[in-house]
């Protein structure tokens, strides 16, 4: 409404004045009431960008057999399910349905089966390269899975994993070459060596802080490198120890040999994944999820012996790393010094950082990426390592938890942005926002809020000095249309925080109070001001309500 219209000398006359009605003004200067439909049209008008509303359907819902919706497969003889499935009823059709909550076992099975049959699809021109790369991938993925147990599950930042593998490989190769040990002893001896080394390395881990320990283990790796490369017994002259016993027999055809060299490490990878599953997914893993870094004190107070759990995992993983070292020696019939170099540790860390530290799938994917770059694209030359470094830097700079953390990070970012948009569009007392609306079960409430908002917008336009003056003169009785509309709205307010008058004596004074809205709870006094007459008090309440309306 324009100012001119508001100031027009419109005078409202009481239609009941002819009958000499009691109460109420006979006539009062007021305003013309705008058409209530105008605010509806304004609200309906297309003037804001439309936002997509609702939730994406993340899960495929499978139909279930209606008679036995809770029937699931179990791993014999345990009570565990192969898949985490939730049974539910469709809210519209009331049909029984099921939802696979954790689909990772399916993806793992697909990927592992693919790796198992991959040699069938290798092109002939690259067959040997790919088989060799597959063998390297298997061994390094197994090492990284064990390493991620130490780094992620046990949160011990040890960089000495390759030192354990290398030492076990060197010692078992030495035993195999000099004492003629057959290949099947080597992983077992490696296991024992890994346990011993793990015990030695674990001792400082209990005392030292994470990063002191990381730097110390980096030094230990260098120590092993220098010790083995300068020691004559371990082949300082020939660049490593070669010629030990191996499980790949010379009597087989070259084709069978390379296939055996592919499937041996594949089985090793399966074994290490099983180890990961049995440590991280069971009691020890749960204990340590309870005691993440910096919350150890809380976990300890809850009775969790996290130190023991960490050292146990460290020892078991070191044993597994030693086993892998022994397998390494049995696979390559020896070992070179390259396993100890700083670059190997760097590449290993790159593998973990790309996939995300602390997840088996991260370790395997990172290994796949790095080995593919390093061994398959060999004709690219030194630029390969450059690219690995660039991918690693990218992963560390932009991804909080490596590749497999992207989903979580993206969701967090989207929620943040959503909150920002929401706050930029929200008004105090406004209608429900589209995003919020999907979360409100009672849709009537949304419509009520929406209608209420429109009504308040409309009523705000009616508040003017003339109307207030009219009410001050006669709070009761017939009023002009504008004032009447306001009063009708105010009377309809819900009981909680509704204003009322408290009379102190038989003839006043009056005070404004507000109901608590709950049975048995006394109303609160709104202000200390006392009104002498009831008319003044009525007007005081009216003014407060007008004030609240304009504030909303």
């Amino acid at each position: 409404m324009s100012e001119d219209e508001r100031k027009s000398d419109y005078t409202w006359r009481n239609p009941l004045a002819a009958w000499d009605a009691k109460g109420g003004n006979h006539e009062a200067p007021s305003i013309r009431v705008p058409d209530p439909r105008s605010i509806w049209d304004e609200n309906q008008a297309y003037k804001v960008p439309l936002y997509k509303v609702g939730r994406l359907k993340h899960f495929h819902i499978w139909s279930a057999h209606g008679d036995r919706p809770w029937n699931r497969m179990r791993w014999w003889p345990t009570r565990r399910y192969p898949l985490h499935i939730k049974g539910l009823y469709n809210r519209k059709t009331l049909k029984a349905e099921k939802k696979i909550l954790d689909r990772r076992p399916i993806y793992w099975a697909i990927c592992l089966i693919f790796l198992a049959i991959a040699p069938l699809f290798f092109p002939d021109s690259m067959r040997n390269t790919l088989l060799t790369a597959g063998a390297t991938f298997g061994i390094f993925a197994a090492i990284n899975v064990c390493w991620t147990l130490i780094l992620g599950t046990a949160s011990i930042f040890s960089l000495a994993s390759y030192a354990v593998v290398g030492s076990a490989a060197f010692i078992t190769s030495y035993l195999s070459i000099n004492y003629g040990l057959p290949w099947f002893y080597l992983p077992g001896i490696g296991l024992a060596l890994g346990f011993i080394m793990g015990g030695v390395i674990a001792a400082p881990a209990l005392r030292l802080d994470g990063f002191y320990y990381a730097l110390l283990t980096l030094g230990l790796n260098e120590l092993c490198r220098v010790f083995f490369t300068t020691s004559k017994a371990f082949g300082s002259a020939s660049g490593g120890l070669y010629g030990g016993s191996t499980y790949i027999s010379d009597s087989w055809s070259p084709e069978v040999q390379s296939l055996a060299a592919y499937y041996g490490p594949y089985l090793l990878l399966l074994a290490s994944l099983l180890l990961f599953r049995f440590i991280a997914g069971k009691r020890l893993g749960r204990i340590l999820r309870m005691a993440p870094e910096k919350r150890e004190a809380f976990a300890e107070a809850c009775g969790v012996d996290y130190k023991r759990a960490r050292v146990t995992i460290f020892l078991v993983s070191s044993g597994a790393l030693g086993f892998i070292g022994g397998f390494y020696a049995a696979h390559y019939s020896g070992v070179g010094f390259s396993i100890f170099t700083f670059d190997t540790v760097l590449l290993g860390l790159a593998m973990l950082a790309i996939g995300g530290i602390g997840r088996a799938e991260g370790a395997v994917l990172g290994t796949l990426v790095v080995v593919a770059l390093d061994q398959v694209l060999i004709e690219w030359g030194p630029i390969r390592h450059f690219m690995i470094g660039a991918i690693m830097l990218f992963a560390v700079l932009f991804l909080n938890q490596g590749f497999f953390g992207i989903k979580k990070q993206f969701n967090a970012w989207r929620d943040k942005k959503r909150g920002e948009w929401r706050s930029s569009r929200s008004e105090k007392g406004g209608e429900a926002l589209p995003e919020e609306a999907t979360e409100i079960e009672d849709k009537d409430a949304i419509y009520h809020r929406r209608f209420d908002k429109m009504q308040r917008d409309y009523l705000k336009r009616l508040v003017c000095p003339e109307v207030i003056e009219e009410h001050r003169r006669k709070p009761l009785g017939q009023h002009s249309e504008a004032l009447e509309r306001l009063l009708l709205y105010f009377r309809r307010a819900p009981m909680d925080d509704k204003y009322a008058l408290h009379r102190a004596g038989p003839d006043g004074p009056y005070k404004i109070i507000a109901f608590a809205g709950a049975r048995g709870v006394a109303p609160r006094v709104v202000e200390d001001r006392e009104y002498e007459t009831v008319e003044e008090a009525y007007h005081g309440v009216f003014m407060r309500r007008v004030h609240d309306l304009l504030e909303s």
Partner: protein, 293 residues
Amino acid sequence: MDISFILVNAVVVACIYGLVAVAISITWSSLGLINLGYGFVFSFAGFGAYLFDRMVSDSPILVASAGILTGAVGGLIICLLVFIPLHDKPNFTTRGMIATLAISLIGSQALLMHFGPRPKNLPELFGYWQVKLGDVVVTSDKIGVVVCSIVMLAVVVFWMRGSRRGLEIRAMMMNPHAASIVGIGVRSTGFYVMAMTGAMAGLAAVLLSQTYYIGPFSGITPLIKGVSIALLGGLGSVQGAVIAAVILGFTEALTSRFLGGQYVLMTQFLLIITILIIRPRGISGLLDKAREQ
């Protein structure tokens, strides 16, 4: 081998590695960044000095300054690529460490691609003269290395004590959060710290090239030695790093005199582990006032 000769060598090597250790220590305590990219900065500065020597001038002071300057530039590169984007992200310490390792990988490969694997050497910066101290003959390069590193360390310590920037860096060491509240820019301090520590690594590279060669991967050993010294001395403590450098230098000298060269790292690490088990934050690292991040 003569014990005094070994001792002199130990002091010389300790001086060079001590520079790297102090650089690592200052970076950790003021920025909370475990910078394992000094290996790259080291080689980068070495190649910078080498290129300057080949292309511009072979004046010893200019070559050394070129090395120091390229070292500072290397430090700034790490600051720009790692510290600035990461310092306010979750898990900064782990990610920072991995990112500096990535820089080290990328940088070494880039140097390898550009300069090839053949080692390069710098001219003799300190001339050819020698001094007799009692019955020990000390050559010019050794005296030069010791003097240069002590001068550099003294300059750094005085700068940190006496200048406005040094005050900012020390404030960051004490409490980074409070420092940023009173108006000390975390990022600008990061630039000073990384440039200064990079310059120290650059000087170390120039000095070490008097004894060894410059190669794309020649920074790894100084890095690991520096890390060990910084660990033993207590991350964040300059005095600790100096003491640790001397202790490790003497251990090295005594081990190679009485046990043999290949046991040097073993005795050193046994010593480090023993001291760290007794004092988990190093010789002069404070137990309860360690940087929490």
